[in-house]
Symmetry: C2
Subunit: 267 residues, 2 copies
């Protein structure tokens, strides 16, 4: 059986395009719809109730477009809403927590660090997933609320970025073997983070692992598409004005050919 | 004639409580309703269309509660939406741009600086208001997107805050006589900003000026309340979970006695 329906991917903003990029690299024949909730971004400082409400709204909107699978490419939404999504009558759903934790659990060291938004860290989703997948390992978790604004300002390699990274992460020095970058923006700060923690700490970017889980899920459910002659369509939808999103998006997806950003009213 | 209806005040978040505090200090008998749109905060990086939609939504919500005047305590919303609000059939509206610019125009120097969110600066609202109120004066404007996250992280007097302020404002050194702090969060960074610009630059906090304009407007429209025996009620409504807002709010309003935060569904 083959299933040519698109895969839906959403994030609170456009950081989740890093996940889209990896999914496209691994599954180049799949049609994709990306939804960035740019009118309500960020989710990271908001309450569980609000994040849940927005997430359900996004999932319903993608569902109405006939997607066969939804990827929650936002760590905060995954952390707060995934259990609820799996409970209800939804399309199959893949989050970004599992992939990062699997990679950390498969790494050599037993001391795992997790960084993310305040909401992600407060949810305990990562800490609980590590305890489940690698019982007995030690978890250090830390919210780093300034990292997203730093990346959005483009300050990823200056003195200020280094000072902020040092402020948040100096307590991890020599204490973690693997660090899960629990927010789509954080991989942009890899160099700075490594310079604080040193080369011996492996940095784990959830995007690639998540793409692998998506591939496994399609196979398991027998809903992968058939190989196509033409490139599949990659749609890019945003809830705020599309003007500014496109420029940042092009930078994030590199060579991947996506449609122009399209405004959608989801509320 | 006296008018005992409440004054409505809204902001994208809770920074606008600094405006509420000044209004209460100047007009202690007026009943107030504060609405913080914490579920959709921040507005500062969003498009004009979206900020306008949210602003109209907030104004309608306050209007439905019978307010006699609306104070737009958010600079971004004032910058983008005030002309539209004044055009339509709304309660009387006061923004926060006018007060800051009036104070700058009345200051001694002719060189005026303005800092704010990206949206506020891009809107040209301040630049146009200065040109109108003080023709011939020179305006330097700069968006400082990292200032809000800094204040929200509580980093208002450390080395990082100083480095960020220096990065944004070093180009203003020796070039502005008065600097309008065009965002409700910025007064928290006054010390750091002064240490970059020096004592000769006057920093203008719009909250107090805005309270004065509110008082003038009530008098002009003949809708001030009568003196009361009991303290007037000050309601505090938020669109996200009220849990975290209350703690920050108490810190911001100091001795002012406001009701506990109440969740409201405005969409």
């Amino acid at each position: 059986m083959v299933d040519d329906r698109p895969i839906g991917i959403f994030d609170s903003g456009i950081g989740g395009l890093t996940v889209l990029k990896e999914i496209h690299a691994l599954l180049p024949h799949e049609e994709l719809i990306y939804l960035g909730d740019t009118a309500r971004v960020p989710y990271g400082g908001k309450s569980k109730e609000t994040v849940l409400r927005y997430t359900l709204n996004n999932v319903r909107f993608l569902e109405a477009q006939g997607v066969k699978l939804v990827v929650v490419a936002c760590n905060t939404a995954s952390a707060y809403a995934l259990p609820e999504l799996l409970d209800h009558d939804n399309p199959p759903v893949v989050g970004v927590i599992e992939g990062g934790v699997e990679a950390a659990a498969n790494s050599n060291g037993a001391r795992i660090g997790v960084i993310g938004t305040e909401a992600t860290i407060n949810s305990m989703a990562y800490q609980n997933a590590v305890a489940r997948l690698r019982p007995g390992s030690q978890v250090l978790a830390k919210a780093c609320p300034m990292f997203v604004p730093l990346v959005e300002e483009g300050w990823v390699d200056n003195e200020i970025a280094l000072a902020v990274a040092h402020e948040y992460l100096h307590e991890f020095q020599g204490k973690v073997d693997a660090l899960v970058l629990g927010c789509t923006h954080y991989p942009m700060l890899k160099t700075i983070i490594s310079s604080v923690l040193g080369e011996s700490t492996i940095l784990i970017d959830s995007a690639r692992e998540t793409a692998r889980i998506v591939s496994r899920t399609l196979d398991r459910l027998n809903i992968a598409c058939q190989p196509r002659q033409n490139r599949p369509r990659i749609r890019f939808q945003v809830t705020d004005s599309p003007k500014r999103s496109m420029e940042v998006a092009r930078r994030m997806v590199g060579q991947v050919d996506i449609d122009d950003a399209e405004y959608v009213d989801i509320t």
